[in-house]
């Protein structure tokens, strides 16, 4: 690790900070405005459905940890997903306080449709990118996310053990 960063690196950091600020504000909207039928499920719900799909049945707490959200937030979102019939609660055999959340068949379908929508939007945005840039962007984004995740986990941990 370098102790002295060059001005070029600093400029990159500044630019990244700037671009992230814009990106965060704009990205959601494209999903909602650009894709006419994308509102199949709301933004928050989509993440939950996708994660349940990828990971299989999970407890609410596991979702909260993954998204770094308050348990109450997840609880409400799960409730509305359940009411919409996209997710089902099963009792957790190992802990009767808890439950396990599973995608329903309808949830599967909705996830598939929404994901296709969203991928279509992203594909449209990246239409003219070179293969190399695509691959690069994907891996850099993933790396950045990993850093974010780590950072968030760390500050959460600090809170509980000061």
């Amino acid at each position: 690790m370098q102790l002295v960063e060059s001005t070029a690196d600093l400029a990159s950091v500044e630019s990244i900070e700037q671009e992230l600020t814009l990106l965060v504000r704009r990205a959601q909207k494209v999903y909602l405005r650009g894709a006419p039928a994308a509102q199949v499920v709301e933004r928050a719900a989509y993440g939950i459905l996708a994660w349940l799909h990828d990971m299989g049945p999970l407890r609410p707490g596991a979702l909260a940890a993954h998204f770094h959200l308050d348990a109450s937030t997840i609880s409400r979102q799960v409730t509305s997903l359940e009411q919409a019939g996209l997710v089902a609660r099963e009792p957790d055999a190992e802990d009767r306080r808890a439950c396990r959340l599973r995608l329903t068949e309808h949830g599967q379908e909705v996830l598939t449709a929404t994901r296709a929508e969203r991928r279509g939007v992203v594909r449209g945005l990246l239409q003219s990118w070179s293969r190399e840039d695509l691959a690069n962007f994907a891996s850099l984004l993933a790396a950045f996310n990993a850093g974010l995740d780590h950072q968030l986990s760390q500050s959460t941990r600090e809170e509980s053990q000061p």
Copy 2:
């Protein structure tokens, strides 16, 4: 432009879509949680301050256009910035319905402090990245944002001229 994308490209798009979903949800939190003193101004306010700083006095409508937000949203945020003494309204000589928004000196200071905070957070996250990755990420993010901006402008325009 290619009509047929390879499976490798599709995988990149899928991965990018996935990572963006996470990024959007997580990025804001790092600014708020990771940086103890970052709450100098809220997320929404920061963007406005920064843009006013870069562009000089602007009308609310110009801000709304830049951020692709509803005029009412900007109006409220500007009101609270004004109450906090970060932004001042001046009458617009050319149109008495409108006004021009200018950073106050205090606004300048707060922007500088907040920006430093945020850049610090980003720098921390990118600490171990190579110079090349930094530069790449910065330029790819910028390109993606430009695409987003274009896409959002387009759908806005379609609304008014169907």
